[in-house]
Symmetry: C2
């Protein structure tokens, strides 16, 4: 009775908040096909647990050679696949590099099989066929029928605990597999060590230590079953222990509760009645088994799966309701799924007691903030963190604090490049933490010590041994002889330096401002006036001879070509335009970018970019040009911004599994969608200005943490009426297509009048 | 001035305690040659750090085959060797299995060499020739001249910190090597992971994780230099990291402060003037780098090597003064070196803040006690822990608490077999924790919850899956078909069960007493009345047909033969004597044991025993018969106990590097020496009685923790006067050759009158 009563109360509270049911528009399956690299499983907003199916366990190498397929499985799940290997607890959302996939669980029946089997012959192992017809993926809930053994798998989550619910047919041979050597981006040396304790017949604790994208990473767990297992056992697939004391004393393979080794798979046996449900709570911690257990006990106190699911979905709905839109059904699906994807990363990294493992591999207490990990900063500084500064300022404040803590723990004295579970995986370029920090400081979101944060930015930006910074500081650019990504590094550093200057200006640090505003002009050093392109420059000051502005290989750029990167001076579009021959020429160049035809050979040699992610020569499936469509505003042709933005919204985001034209990149692609559908975009984070584009919604109400509401009203909206005829802020006409951050946070209404013809 | 003043104060306090200078008799070099397996380096009583030279780094395997030489290097140092590889911070004292050797440091000059080189050609690597003429090994201090580069190496220690002092010749190329892949009992898979942070130019922290004798073991460290290094670097000898983000971004080999991998060696460069001293403080922790640093800061506050050395030697002297003896110089050397060796293990395992890593691999706080590790219980339950119950009762109380904590953390619900740095290495047989616990409870030393301790003993003793206990419980013995050590296990379990019965008796748990006193008679089931030997018995109840009482192979015994093990019923000598045909026959059998001649073939097939450790057929170099010489007392021929004990003392202990006839086994051999030289021995720990033998000292004063003194007076002592003519306790004649524990703790005097003829 009590359970039912509680559950009714929850439903009641869910309804009584008078919020819209917006999770109905969230389709986690979007982006799981082709390039999106999202996962369909269960997580809560910014949750530390991402409980999701793996459709294959791909090896990094096959017979000693790199396996290109590994790239497809960044999130573990490919919509195209026909089998599910199991359900693991950690996943990256939309990245272009893979890792995680910790603690894979799979229910089976019949003869015990500890190997996963193959996709072609799933019955040769513990994996199972499944069909999308029997699959449900919602915010905070995932369900699938595993056809091979006719087992229904359901999962939901809290912040730090995954909850599984398996409905078995009757059998004396029901099993739950815990594969402790499975992982995403697996290779022979990834499994460093695994340790497991079977505490009693319903509780297991332990940890898994890996050397992957994060070099030194340990995840602790506590796993609790709703029903005691009858037997359990393990197999150690890399048994090179020299001392065999254990083996002589015990049969370690069966019912032996202290297990350790490099590559371990475990199983737990049950007898099940027809339709019997076995549930699992699986808690994680970066600190200890004890903390994992404490996380479990704090977050899920009983075995009510429906209650946990309802809580998860309530928490999602609460977050989604921060923006209420009116729009077409498809747009609502795209919009709220984008919001869902933006609220997945970064992930909470503190345990319920506030402890977390720092970059220095020691345990720290987060005093007064929640520590976050999973910062894909090269992507997310652009729109995701600016979006948080509007809609998640408290969390973004904590994220900046997490970056500063990372810096404090860094023996290198560097802010994070890609903060990854007590590690920096050093992926991609720039030092874009400084952009996130500047944006939070400029917009008044950061309540920590701003001078300390500035100091961290400066020290990071002066790390001479890091990726050519020494050359950059001495010469104003990085010689092409010294780096394969000399141009994009220089361009990104220059933008980041401008961000540092903005902080310095706010803090009245004139000398710092002068130094970094000067550095912020370094992008000019790679601009070749003769060609109008950013080009690699040699140590002797001449431009490198061979140059192809279309090619992404050997031209000095990371994940992009000169055609896209040449527009990378978001901190100073006016000068860029002047250098490129003035507004008219500049606009014509943008026209060319958006309309050119790329040869097929381009895609053969380009990592991370496919034809789906391209409009003309403009690459939306990757990030470097995400601001470029808004540059028409500076060239006095805002109607072209409006047209291109709507075209990108239309072509690059679809409410289908293959709906994302490129990696979602921890929410950056989705944040671009949200901003652009609302009608404005942060071209240069670190400034307090947004460029106004063309909204896709009919109406939007943003409810802010300060209690204010910012509204977007769109008059005469239609798929054809993409051109802004007039835009008003609180009734006053906006002529410069600029929206100030304060105009948002103070509350107010931005009203668009749309039409089918450009307003020139 | 301040330093000098402090140092003078220390000297003053050293002298003012009016204690004898007893460390002069401690020769840590004893036992470093041949079988003793002791180490000569610096440690403090029960210290967590054992800073000592390695004379070779031996691999467990050579070309895939077991390398027998690995056994010689249990303590890392062989007196016979001509080169020193370096100085590492953890060593086992006297064990018959090897491990540890963490964090090897070596000073060099000239061309940097990161490989250790070979003994035959030390200049091919960082190792160096040395000579015993230039070597000093004292309690708490070790010094040696490294001939290759003419560097003087000195070391001392506190409980958790090793202090190095290297005197270099002038050079622009002085180096200190930190080898993080060196280790004792090394093999390819032993190095699991290593992590290092160069915090600044004098401080390094990190950890090393190994899979050795201890399966899952991590040691954290903090290393501080007295002088900043000019450069530093590393080499990773097992660089199989799939993700190379680090490598692209940085030159990790030089001056890169965040290092991790499986097999790493580091170096630190210095410029030195002639005779310039560089010092190192090297702190350990089982918990974290932060704790290691805290240990360092708490225990060594400045750079005064002489002060730390004086503190170490003062602490040794204080412990040694607990027993003041008069005896020959050689006896004093043997005696105080034995005391030194008994006070090395177990080792302190808590950090200064009371934290330690438990058997469950989580961090625990030791509330109200010091947690200890390194319990070689199969050896040390016999005499070492009984010795502690007299002379170190507070520590032994904490050791029992450490065992109970181990039990609490054990998923197997077992007390330690061989407690080894947050692991059980499961070495040897029995469940002798229960003997240590019983002895401490019976003697009133344990102040914890006695009922809880009894429960732990019972649960351990009923672990049916452990080493034949199920058969033992069902049949009263372990069938020979089921175990290669069926007889010794049964004999040892029976004794341990008697210990449990003693606790139960004290706690008035009649049912438990009845159950375990019955189990304690199980030794009878392996006694073959037809042969008079303990023999393996088949499941069908018949004795195994092939039987050789001399052989140590395949006869059902661990590290011993039936000749020695047949006397293993210390809990019930009277019944054993009766079964063996009465006192006269029994004594004659003992005579045969002590006088037989063993063929050379015996030693070829016997592990852990050499001719040096044998008297007749009696094996003193291994433990199972350590009580046997005292059994003549029960056979009414105490003069033969007296003669044999004196013979063993004389033959098996010598004040020379090869002075120990067998492995010291964490102090068990040495504890036998101390008891026997004082004239009594704990034949059955768990009882409150000692058997009186023949003292070697002229006089001894034991100063107890309770303030009482127990004195041993020996009248007419000489090497020939080994026979006790009369023994008085506080003036009253002792006729039964039994000394009660209470007689010791109450204080009093045991007076021996000696003569050259047996007193029959």
């Amino acid at each position: 009775m009590k359970k039912t009563f509680l559950f009714s109360l929850l439903i009641l509270s869910f309804v009584s908040q008078a919020q819209q049911n917006l999770i109905q528009y969230v389709k986690p399956i979007i982006g799981t096909e082709k390039m999106g690299h999202t996962y369909p499983g269960a997580t809560v907003p910014f949750g530390a647990v991402q409980l999701s199916p793996e459709t294959d366990t791909i090896s990094y190498e096959i017979n000693g050679k790199y396996n290109g397929d590994v790239y497809k499985y960044c999130a573990g799940y490919k919509y195209e696949d026909k089998t599910i290997v199991g359900f693991s607890h950690t996943h990256l959302s939309g990245t272009g590099h893979s890792d995680l996939g910790d603690f894979l669980i799979m229910p089976t029946q019949g003869k015990l099989q500890l190997n996963p089997g193959t996709a072609a012959n799933p019955k040769s192992g513990y994996r199972s066929s499944y069909s999308h017809a029997n699959e449900v993926a919602e915010a905070g809930y995932y369900k699938v029928k595993l056809d091979d053994d006719n087992i229904l798998a359901e999962m939901t989550a809290t912040t730090r605990v995954g909850m599984h619910q398996y409905t078995f047919p009757k059998s004396d041979e029901s099993h739950i597999i815990l594969d402790l050597m499975a992982g995403i981006y697996n290779y022979d040396e990834k499994d460093v060590w695994t340790y497991v304790r079977v505490v009693n017949d319903t509780l297991i604790t332990g940890y898994r230590q890996t050397n992957g994208w994060a070099r030194t990473r340990t995840v602790y767990f506590a796993m609790s079953f709703s029903k005691p297992f009858t037997e359990y056992g393990q197999k150690n697939y890399d048994d090179k222990q020299a001392y065999r004391g254990f083996w002589r004393k015990f049969d370690q393979l069966k019912n032996f509760p202290e297990i350790a080794g490099k590559k371990i798979r475990m199983y737990f046996d049950f007898k099940t009645e027809e339709a019997e449900i076995i549930k699992i709570k699986f808690a994680l911690s970066s600190v200890s088994q004890e903390n994992a257990l404490q996380n479990m006990q704090a977050e899920i106190k009983d075995w009510n799966f429906e209650k946990v699911k309802a809580q998860a979905q309530t928490s999602w709905n609460k977050e989604l309701n921060k923006i209420a839109i009116t729009a077409s059904e498809d747009t609502k699906v795209n919009f709220y799924t984008a919001m869902y994807h933006t609220f997945i990363n970064p992930t909470v990294y503190t345990d319920v007691n506030g402890q977390y493992k720092g970059l220095d591999q020691d345990v720290h207490q987060a005093n007064g903030f929640t520590n976050y990990s999973t910062f894909s900063l090269w992507d997310t500084y652009r729109a995701l963190h600016p979006f948080f500064n509007i809609i998640q300022p408290s969390r973004n404040n904590d994220m900046v604090k997490s970056m500063v803590a990372h810096y404090d723990q860094s023996a290198l004295h560097m802010l994070p490049i890609w903060s990854h579970y007590s590690n920096d995986n050093w992926c991609m370029s720039g030092y874009h933490s400084v952009s996130v920090i500047a944006d939070a400081i400029i917009k008044g979101v950061y309540n920590g010590d701003e001078n300390q944060a500035l100091e961290a930015c400066i020290t990071t930006a002066k790390h001479r041994n890091y990726e050519g910074i020494g050359y950059y500081m001495d010469l104003g650019y990085i010689p092409a002889e010294k780096s394969g990504v000399s141009v994009s590094n220089t361009l990104e550093y220059a933008y980041d330096d401008w961000c540092i200057a903005q902080i310095a200006k706010k803090l009245n640090k004139t000398a710092v401002y002068d130094e970094f505003i000067k550095r912020s002009e370094n992008w000019k050093n790679n601009y070749n006036a003769a060609t109008g392109f950013m080009q690699p420059k040699m140590a002797n000051g001449t431009f490198k001879k061979e140059f192809d502005p279309l090619s992404t290989e050997g031209q000095g750029f990371i994940e992009g070509n000169s055609w896209n990167y040449s527009f990378f001076a978001p901190q100073d579009p006016a000068t860029l335009i002047a250098k490129m021959g003035g507004k008219k020429t500049f606009a014509a160049r943008l026209d060319t970018l958006f309309s050119m035809h790329l040869p097929d050979s381009f895609f053969e040699h380009t990592e991370d970019i496919t034809r789906e992610g391209i409009i003309g020569g403009y690459v939306h499936g990757n990030e470097p040009a995400h601001h470029v469509a808004y540059f028409y505003n500076w060239a006095n042709q805002p109607w072209k911004t409006q047209a291109q933005v709507r075209k990108i919204l239309d072509m690059q985001y679809k409410p289908s599994p293959d709906g994302l034209g490129g990696n979602d990149d921890c929410g950056q692609m989705s944040a671009w969608y949200i901003f652009s559908s609302l009608g404005f975009y942060p071209v240069a984070p670190g400034s307090d200005e947004y460029a106004i584009g063309s909204p896709l919604v009919n109406n939007a109400v943003l409810t802010l943490e300060n209690g204010n509401q910012f509204k977007v009203n769109v008059i005469n909206q239609s798929p054809k009426n993409v051109y802004v005829q007039k835009v008003l802020l609180d009734g006053k006409t906006v002529t410069d297509f600029v929206l100030k951050h304060k105009s948002i946070t103070d509350g107010g209404t931005l009203t668009f009048y749309m039409g089918s013809k450009p307003k020139k």
